[in-house]
Amino acid sequence: MADILLKLKNLKKKFRIGTEDFWALSGVNFAVKKGEFVAIMGPSGSGKTTMMNIIGGMDQATSGEYIFNNKAIHDLSKTQMAAFRNQQIGFIFQSFNLLKRYNVFQNVILPLEYSKSQPHDLRKHVLELLEKLEIASKVEQQISQLSGGQIQRVAIARALINNPSLLLADEPTGNLDSSTSEKILKIFKALHQQGNTIILVTHDAHVASYAERIIQMQDGKIILVSE
């Protein structure tokens, strides 16, 4: 049990659309071990994004349990959820979600604005991180001056700055061409090899093939787990 990072128990999520209730998740049971690389696949409306939002602490389940590092996340207040996102989760989005008016350095350190602690030598720490992602030379550049692949590397650096327990990537190669996608996926693979836990949401089987385990979802339920 000690190596379990997160666990979902009979997790349900209901949305109200007009006058009708819609169950986006209808009883999901699922666990991720520390250091694991999991891909979640499924068609639109299968509930994969909803599940990811709940795992990332962006949303609360209607019922069920969500345990992360032996702590109940489903009971947390809004402020505690914000701290959870800041300390435990590193988000990587399909549309990058970087601040265009900030340069690379300012974007990477953005999560630290909301952290209580900071690395001892911040600039050195950021440069080391960017070095690993091969974009250290771009540290002072504006986001608008970078290519798609470089922008996603900046987003990965930002996700790693707080040493999170979990990297949560939502279609991270969705906006990239195939050769850039390959490079980004190799970065994920390397990060996994370094011991990071990664959950990646995708509809692309090739992208999912980089993961150790693939979870197939449909109609708010897990229908298949393949190792």
């Binding site: 939002n53 962006m58 701290a83 549309s95 909301y114």
Partner: protein, 420 residues
């Protein structure tokens, strides 16, 4: 502490990213602040001018003016008689007010003096004064000697001049011993009076004082007023005393006599009038300033709402990265505070320039108009008012910034992230 610096830095970066919109809002705020500041400086200037004027004419005593427009010759003979003094002394016994002294204040005449380039507005006020009056008014000299009883009794033609007359009209640097001619009679200057009142009303020091006996002898045809100063004890009711004295002169003494009349100037009444003028000015300023500030406030709300709408995606990103509602509330409040601070700075700067430039032009370019028509009125910068303005501005900014900031803080991160 470090955290707040981070937030201030974030606010500044955000403002710079929307610099045109932020500057326009700040400009709107600066107009509001500038309007209030200039209006308050006008009000403060008016207040000061009125106070200087009334201090100058009223001091703390009642002033009894006896005047006649029809027969100055007859008027000059009409000094207060013993029975009048007796009456005034006795008013106190019946109405619990004790006037302890009635003084001969002096007489004013209109006259020509032999100084070049003297226009009608620059003519000094010429007073004939009793030496006792000068002593009791604590009238001091900066140069020379005082008119004394001997000068007055013997009708020696000596004069004391005020500094405004000396420096601005006559232009004489060493007046003692010099001769000045008033109508057909020559006077030797024996003293220069110190500035009795504020320098913002320099005209008050445009005067010449000569012995009262000479005025009565030589200038009686030019009389236009005779004043008596009546000093009251501290607990005296000046309104009642003034009414009693007025009643005595106008009803009892000068009944059915249209040639003479009496007027009592009561400094307390003047103070009351000043208070009313002050209050009216303040009301006008509060209403106008309030409207200006309200319009600025609407501008702030509008800009900040547009900011929040434009930056919905950023709010989503920040929330995803761990920003709490409080973090975002503070960030957006700081932004509106920073915009308002910029507006406040611009407004104060513009109005300071305007006030100083106006004062400079009044003193140097429109000097005559300023002295003769504005009684030495200057816009006055009150630093306490400035602090109050800064406080009100900060408050406005917080009030106007709170709704957009709350809107940003309460946003759902998932919805906000979808907004591109």
């Amino acid at each position: 502490m470090g955290n707040i610096f981070k937030k201030i830095k974030t606010a500044i970066i955000s403002i710079l990213a929307n610099r045109f919109r932020s500057f326009l809002t700040a400009f709107g705020v600066s107009i509001g602040i500038g309007t209030i500041f200039i209006m308050l400086s006008i009000s403060s200037g008016i207040h000061k001018t009125i106070q200087n004027t009334t201090n100058a004419i009223a001091s703390t005593n009642l002033t009894l003016e006896l005047f006649s427009t029809q027969n100055p010759q007859k008027y000059i003979q009409h000094l207060l008689e013993n029975k009048d003094f007796y009456f005034i002394d006795n008013i106190g016994k019946s109405i619990n007010f004790i006037p302890h002294k009635v003084l001969l204040d002096g007489v004013n005449i209109k006259s020509k003096i032999n100084i070049d380039n003297l226009n009608s507005n620059s003519i000094p006020q010429i007073n004939g004064c009793d030496p006792t009056f000068l002593k009791l008014q604590q009238f001091n000299l900066i140069q020379g000697e005082m008119i004394n009883d001997f000068h007055n009794r013997q009708k020696i033609p000596v004069a004391i001049v005020g500094t405004y007359f000396l420096n601005n009209i006559w232009g004489e640097t060493n007046p003692i011993g010099k001769i000045i001619q008033i109508e057909n009679r020559q006077f030797t200057i024996i003293g220069v009076a110190e500035n009795k009142y504020s320098t913002s009303l320099p005209m008050i020091n445009n005067f010449i004082i000569i012995p009262e006996t000479i005025v009565e002898e030589d200038y009686s045809s030019m009389f236009f007023g005779r004043n008596y100063s009546i000093s009251l004890t501290n607990n005296a009711k000046s309104e009642i005393a003034a009414a009693e004295i007025l009643n005595y002169f106008n009803i009892l003494k000068y009944t059915n006599n249209l040639e003479f009349s009496a007027m009592v100037i009561n400094p307390k009444e003047i103070q009351k009038m000043i208070a009313i003028v002050d209050l009216a000015l303040l009301a006008i300023i509060l209403i106008t300033g309030g409207i200006a500030l309200f319009v600025s406030g609407v501008g702030i709300v509008n800009t900040m709402l547009a900011n929040v709408a434009d930056r919905t995606n950023e709010i989503g990103i920040r929330k995803a990265l761990g920003a709490t509602e409080k973090d975002l509330l503070i960030q957006f409040l700081l932004e509106s505070l920073a915009i308002t601070a910029l507006g406040c700075l611009m407004g104060v700067l513009f109005s300071m320039i305007f006030i100083n430039l106006t004062n400079f032009l009044l003193i140097t370019v429109f000097t005559d108009f300023w002295i003769n028509n504005l009684a030495g009125f200057l816009l006055n910068i009150d630093f306490q008012v400035l602090l109050l303005i800064i406080f009100i501005t900060a408050l406005t900014s917080l009030i106007c910034g709170i709704y957009p900031a709350l809107k940003a803080a309460k946003m759902d991160p998932i919805e906000a992230l979808r907004y591109v």
